[in-house]
Symmetry: C2
């Protein structure tokens, strides 16, 4: 044993694919803060600990975090990611279920995009009518206060 301190489990562990939360964060692109949070809310399983209480991450744990990161990048909510993770880890899943979830999410995105585009249109129309000079007359405010 190369351990120099009483509880150097992590020191021993490194090199066997086990690391601490900081490293897991760097490798997965998920902040340590969020990794702990995902554990709190049960999105990921509780990981092992050293005797000192430090969390220990295996390669598969980091892989899971990367999956979460990519899902977040696509805008999935935590709840949806929970479902996706379940399907991912279930070898007997039907791809139809995954597709359904994805299509639902696309529909959600479309709704939000449409809503924001409507705002954009309405505002653009007002902006186009506003001289934007030193005078106080302003169709934008006139419309808001109508």
């Amino acid at each position: 044993m190369r351990a120099t301190t009483k509880f150097a489990e992590l020191g021993e562990a490194k090199g066997e694919g086990l690391t601490n939360i900081g490293h897991a964060a760097r490798r997965s692109g998920v902040s340590a803060k969020m990794i702990r949070h995902y554990e709190d809310i049960g999105l990921v399983h509780r990981v092992g600990r050293t005797r000192a209480g430090y969390r220990i991450y295996r390669d598969t744990d980091i892989h899971t975090l990367q999956f979460i990161r990519r899902s977040r990048d696509l805008g999935f909510t935590i709840k949806e990611i929970g479902l996706l993770l379940g399907l991912w880890q279930n070898r007997r899943r039907a791809s139809a279920d995954v597709k359904k979830l994805a299509l639902k999410h696309i529909a959600d995105l479309d709704a939000r995009i449409a809503e924001m585009q409507a705002m954009r249109m309405a505002l653009t129309r007002l902006v186009d009518c506003c001289h934007g000079d030193q005078r106080p007359d302003c169709p934008i405010l006139d419309d808001l206060g109508a």
Copy 2:
């Protein structure tokens, strides 16, 4: 006085353009809950009260709430609405300031729309590759777990 109760200020007030929070909510489209909240955070001035502590709303107060409602509908944040209200109530404003605020907000919307459209594109590409049948093979999960 038609007052039948000790402190019937509101009863007397109605008909003179003064009302309670529930009515103000209905007229402005802002929930009573949010009206109180806007007062808490200082977005609107504290309104008068009856001796019993009930808030009293004048027509101008309701007008202000309508302004806020319309601004929210266009997606302005509370902070931005604070600025807009300031300009609205300032007869010496320059319409350029209003326009600047509105253009900034349009830019914000554009950024968010673009972000969501990028998600939409990426996800659509994956969905199009997924058979969506009973088999487990799924390019969506493959990509997320890559």
